[in-house]
Amino acid sequence: MTEEVYTRKPRTGLYALIAVIVAALIAGYFLLNGGDDSEAAEGDGPNAGQTINIVGFAVPEAANKAIAGAFTKTEDGRGVKFKTSYGASGDQSRAVEGGLKADYVHFSVATDVDRLVKAGLVDANYDQGENKGIVSSSIVVLGVRKGNPKNIQGWDDLIKPGVGIVTANPASSGAARWNALGAWTHITENGGSEADATQFVDALFKNVVSLTNSGRDATTSFLEGNGDVLIAYENEAILAAQNGESFDYVIPDTTFKIENAGALLKEHAPAAEAWLDFVISDEGQKQFALKGFRPIRDDVDFGGTVEGAPDPQHPFPTVKHLVTLDDIGGWAAVKDKLFGDGKDGAPVGIVTKSIEKSGKATQ
């Protein structure tokens, strides 16, 4: 048999299509990445010419961009350039651990920074400053369909029969652990025992209809018609509304405070220090607020109006009972207890088990 037997007739149309797609991808790449360089303002500040590599989770990309814009207008920021990389929090953390160049990291959960501390890349004291290693903040909210047809008012409504829940999976998305903590502490911080909380979390996961691998996927799934309730973050709901994908949301009486960690790597460009100071300054926090994050200090003046919030004049209503990580003893106290995956024969976490049980019940 000669080789010609397997030779295909050239399909010019197909090649043309491929060429177009490749060209579009290349053009798209330059358009997207070109944006980062254009943030650099001309000038000769003390840090001019330095490049700060930001590696972060996906959600604060818009806010960080706005902060970078403001930073380059300050004395310390003039002439500083940025290179940025955004993705799933855990993936980004593992990428930095694996050698991705970073000066400053911004992750959804502090455990992703702890991974870098363990790897010797971030100073163990990163959380000893005034901001305790926290650079942005939000709360867990319950997204509902327009007009709230199932009359969802709080966590207890989620376990009623017939309510379908969409949430990112706390087992595969570190960021989704805030959601599970919200459900868990709704019981434990209101006088319930851990057994009660376990029962509640079991019931909650039984109502889950879609368990996505990221918060973004959960929002997409919800907007495409899945479920009645989306366990989400307030800042994501506001940002979605700013991007024309609004959904109503309810703030439960008891809910959890989301605290996103930020840190400098041990080896960083000198300008990165000024950058971190700027991020946690009132000006930096104002930019976060405008994109839907709650400022890390109550006295930050962000102008009072946040577009995309249900009431832009009062974007961040006071939560009756806001539970924080400090209240429950920090990540160390809950990481394995709730989310352990049974590695090396360790006991499986309560939430991990709830997720497993939820599937068996419907089998």
Binding site: A171, S172, G225, E356, G359, K360
Partner: protein
């Protein structure tokens, strides 16, 4: 061995090693770091085992479907003349070209709860079959098509003139020539399905014991800083794929010999 063929072999082995052999070995090595006990515990975890079973079952079913539908599509594309054929030729490759996450979005909007077709397949195990079928559609078609194009009609006519029925002609004349291509397409189709992730995560809802696939379990293990666990599932899938490829090759040789 001539000098040039030696260079050719060297380049081929180097390229193959860099891209395939070394990464695959790394996966297996990572698995062994966790030890046999960890491997066994990981793959016998009920949730993981169910995810692996669903993945392999769906991959097998979809591959079998592809063997028939793919060969039929290739037949139509080669032997029939009809308006819009050129367009169909082009569209067949779209599952190749489309980024899988885009494919997932398309599938979700078509077969999700807001389905304009009235088909609600999201968050069920059907969604896994659907996503696999979508991304693997072109493999058998594209493997069989060029072979079919080069087959001489004379041979079939000769068989017919000697009194062979259409079925006998197909079984004794066509099938043995097509078998290697069908088997190669089936192997590609199975391997792709077993590792599929992007196109189904949005549609399937990743519900444990229902629509969760092996790649999602791998992701969960990685997220929990359990690379040995992730590698264990990957190694098992690797072994299953290898087995399927070997079985397909044996079957293909048997069928080809009957010609």
């Amino acid at each position: 061995m001539t000098r040039t063929s030696g260079i050719g072999l060297g380049v081929a082995v180097l390229w193959f090693s860099l891209l395939v052999l070394i990464p695959l070995s790394a996966v297996v090595v990572t698995t062994t770091e966790g030890g046999w006990a960890n491997f066994w515990r990981t793959i016998t975890n009920e949730q993981t085992a169910h995810a692996i079973r669903l993945t392999v079952l769906a991959a097998v079913v979809v591959t079998v479907v592809n063997v028939f539908s793919g060969t039929a599509i290739a037949w139509v594309l080669v032997r029939d003349r009809f308006p819009g054929k050129a367009l169909l030729e082009l569209i067949i490759d779209i599952p190749f070209a489309l980024p899988t996450i885009v494919a997932g979005l398309v599938l979700l909007s078509l077969y999700g709860n807001d389905s304009p077709l009235g088909l609600h397949l999201s968050n069920s195990s059907w969604s896994v079959y659907l996503a696999f079928a979508f991304v693997t559609l072109p493999f058998v078609v594209r493997m069989v098509q060029p072979v079919l194009e080069e087959l001489d009609l004379d041979v079939e006519e000769a068989a017919a003139s000697l009194g062979a029925s259409r079925f006998t002609t197909f079984r004794r004349i066509l099938l043995p020539s097509l078998a290697p291509a069908i088997a190669a397409g089936a192997a590609l189709s199975f391997a792709r399905a077993v590792g599929e992730y992007g196109s189904l995560v949005l549609l399937s809802g990743n519900l444990p014991f229902k629509s969760e696939v092996a790649s999602v379990r791998i992701l969960s293990a990685i997220e929990n800083d359990n690379p040995a666990g992730a590698a264990s599932v990957a190694t098992l899938l690797l072994l299953v794929s290898l087995l399927v490829i070997v079985v397909l090759d044996v079957v293909q040789r048997k069928v080809a010999q009957r010609g």
